[in-house]
Symmetry: C2
Subunit: 282 residues, 2 copies
């Protein structure tokens, strides 16, 4: 909190919920660094400038990168991997720290290694977000109290320390882990619930039920059905095999429940509910 700001000139690439919220949060800190923004979307650049979240938002990526000591990549996963290569090739950022915030850490770690910047690359993944997308959904307090997974090579430790200080300045709690541990965990705690929400919404749609017909429980269960397919497509390319296994297990449970309902075996369903209730309380 009272530390000197770990970075002075930050380039935020991607000004959606994540990038926009990083820009807003940093602009709001006491020792506010200079934050420049870039997006392929002209509207988002304008919105970020107008909101005062960034001091500049030029169209040219090179202009944004010039003299930056932190490049914060906040685009969907595939674009993030491409940008890591572009940034390394552009050679404009010398020894700047490169950070990303995408939802899987193995693919970006690979991209950083291939681009020869693993020694200054720090993968971050804040456990915060929104099913809404775009700059208008960004908030200065999005990361307040949020856990942020940090994945980096040991050789990048100086950069990692600065990135952790940056997240703390935004109210978040950085915790280091490995790409494998992180990606398996995310496949299960994030990707599986996402796909369950899509599966549930499709089933409701198939029965002619509208989103507005739902009560609070059903609304909670389908909120993620509004998530942005663009953000997710890349994540599913790098999906962990355990996600496939867990999806099949969930589908099997639902088939079993359907059978149990048909033969009036309420005891079996009660046993399932008792098990998940114990799990919730644990």
């Amino acid at each position: 909190m009272s530390d000197a700001a770990p970075f002075q000139r930050i380039a935020v690439l991607g000004l959606g919920v994540m990038g926009g919220s990083i820009a807003r949060a940093l602009t709001g800190t006491a020792a506010a660094p200079e934050v420049r923004g870039w997006s392929h979307d002209t509207e988002e650049r304008r919105a970020a400038l107008y909101a005062g979240a960034v001091t500049a938002a030029p169209e040219d990526l090179k202009e944004v990168l010039q003299d930056a000591d932190l490049v914060a990549i906040a685009t969907p996963l595939k674009a993030a991997c491409r940008l890591i290569a572009d940034i390394a090739a552009a050679d404009l950022t010398r020894d700047a720290t490169i950070m990303d915030v995408s939802g899987l850490k193995a693919p970006v770690a690979r991209a950083a290694a291939e681009a020869g910047v693993a020694g200054r690359f720090v993968g971050a993944h804040p456990m915060a977000g929104s099913e809404a997308s775009g700059f208008p959904a960004s908030r200065a307090d999005l990361f307040e109290g949020a856990l942020v997974w940090i994945v980096a090579e040991p050789e990048a430790s100086a950069h990692t320390q600065k990135v952790e200080a940056l997240w703390r300045s935004m109210g978040a709690r950085p915790v280091q882990t490995s790409a494998e541990t992180h990606d398996r965990l995310m496949s299960l705690v994030s990707h599986l619930p996402q796909l369950a929400a899509n599966g549930l919404a499709a089933a409701l749609d198939g029965e002619g039920i509208r989103a507005g017909d739902l009560g609070p429980g059903g609304r909670d269960m389908t909120r993620l059905a509004a998530s942005n397919p663009e953000v997710w497509a890349g994540l599913f390319e790098g999906a962990h095999p355990d996600l496939v296994r867990a999806l099949r297990a969930m589908a099997g449970t639902l088939q079993d429940v359907a059978d149990e309902l048909e033969r009036g075996d309420v005891e079996a369903i009660a046993a399932l509910m008792q098990r998940t209730r114990s799990w919730s309380d644990a």
Copy 2:
């Protein structure tokens, strides 16, 4: 609001989240009626008395029913059906209105018809509740702004009007429907999401993921996994056949997604997400 109170002496049977909240809400209205409570659970009777939600909570059901002009049954479905028969047999309530708040309306309507009280029975189902259970989870404002489905025979119209006025006095919005329409809707908007949450929680449990590992999206998706099996068991006995069909459809979608992940068909998953996103926005 400014109407005279529709009932003067109300007997609330069952003092869990629903019954407790009804008692608390009515005790808080301007023209507060006398509210007596009953529960098979001694602790709940004590808690309701201590909280001032009821003026009396005798152990003997007959004592609670004596002179009541409204009997509000707020127990799980099976107990509600039994109580309707008991109340009719006890002959203590003469022409008192009998109301229940359980989650399916066809079974209670049948019970009322069989007991010969269909002419003074009004089924109600407030779209409000909690995954927590018991009197401690009850709240005076639980029904504020909530939709309440009302199902009753035309011959019970005088009773229906008074029950609707009662719900309005608690800040709720009563809307009449038929038992068939209501029960199909509930099977899909309430029971299906409930079972989806159980299926998801079981899959996470199977992968060794704890509830505390989840982010906000996963927490929303598994909140219902803590629901009370006792409350639900009876609801699943009266489940609508379309629930079985929708469960199978959801299981099929999740199987398809597992296959698509395995063969890297991200386009197919994006198409599913696009469909559910449009559904969410509609």
